[in-house]
Symmetry: C2
Subunit: 211 residues, 2 copies
Amino acid sequence: MKGGHSKAMIARMSRYLRGLERIMSGGTTTINSKALGEMLGISDSQVRKDFAMFNRLGHAGIGYRCEELAEVIRQTLGMNQVWSAAIVGCGNLGQALIGYRGFRQRGITIEAAFDENPAVIGTTIHGLTIQDFGQFAATIQELEIQLAILSVPAAAAQKTADVLANCGILGILNFAPVNLNLPDSVSLSNVDLTIELEQLVFAVVQKQKVD
Amino acid sequence: MKGGHSKAMIARMSRYLRGLERIMSGGTTTINSKALGEMLGISDSQVRKDFAMFNRLGHAGIGYRCEELAEVIRQTLGMNQVWSAAIVGCGNLGQALIGYRGFRQRGITIEAAFDENPAVIGTTIHGLTIQDFGQFAATIQELEIQLAILSVPAAAAQKTADVLANCGILGILNFAPVNLNLPDSVSLSNVDLTIELEQLVFAVVQKQKVD
DNA sequence: TGCTGTGAAAGACTTCACAGCA
DNA sequence: TGCTGTGAAGTCTTTCACAGCA
């Protein structure tokens, strides 16, 4: 392996992996950079550059062997092992994420869910009983949970994230629309639905201006 | 106004806007590039470069007037008007998005929701009754809906998106983990929760390697 | 003096174009 | 011949550094 791993490149790796799994489920065993790129909206040279980090995995005249390629991508991403996550904040979005199938399909299991609101503590959603956030430290230690999915209101996000960090969580997927400050020991990935929607609105407005 | 509008820059504009609204609600009326940047995790020079597209809005020695700045950002993003959206696909995630407050706070209202599953059609979620997807064309025309939030299973996404495009939808926020092909007339923004979580896992694994 | 606006430099990312292998 | 791997070129983005204004 060689070369740098930019954020954009890692995002493409996820997409390659999903594309590969899809075509493999259809029985295909090899694919070339052009076909894989077209399927995902990525240029063929970009595909080859990305795979250059795997030493000479491709086969001139043939392309890449799907299973082999998928395996090294899984390894690169760290998806060749099982990960356990907890949902923190069980409002609308949190409850939906408990039942979200995409995570489990990728080897990430939601093992626990927490909230502070007595009205939802004790409720069972998709087979998981929501616990009092006060039990967070004990539960994640017992179940060896590494990741937290943070879907609390923006105002509570930093304070809650501080607790997660203190409890030894390794990574936080943050849905709150705020910039979290965390110690270096904790990784952070942000999803901001409003930003995505505003980007869409911007694109729509730009298109209208051209006409 | 001048300069290009990259995707990354537009995403930052959303963040500036939210930061500004937050500090204004605390009574602050002016802010400089350094303070705004620190609040959002963006460098001060980046902030100034981004605002360079607004002709000389800043005031040397003082900074930017918050309300004035927020207003031009809203205009740039197209958020100085109200937008109507429909949820298409009312599974877990779709139902959560119907109730998501962040959209409404930003002037984007969810006016209708659709599904194909007879078991959910007719159900009322957060005050909105889920309609048969067959009524999509009629409803969006009647309610003048411009945007669609697509949260159907991956296998159905392209086919559903084709219908949305044919009905004259201007933009689609796609949650399905597939690369959609759409006519140029339709704008597209993708949210892929699995990619975000995999990026987080990658970051965690990288951090462990260093230690 | 404090801060903006902005050229110039640096850096990151993508595409091009083609040598070379099976 | 068909396709990979990869330097080189091109493009896009960010940071630096400082002149100039209030």
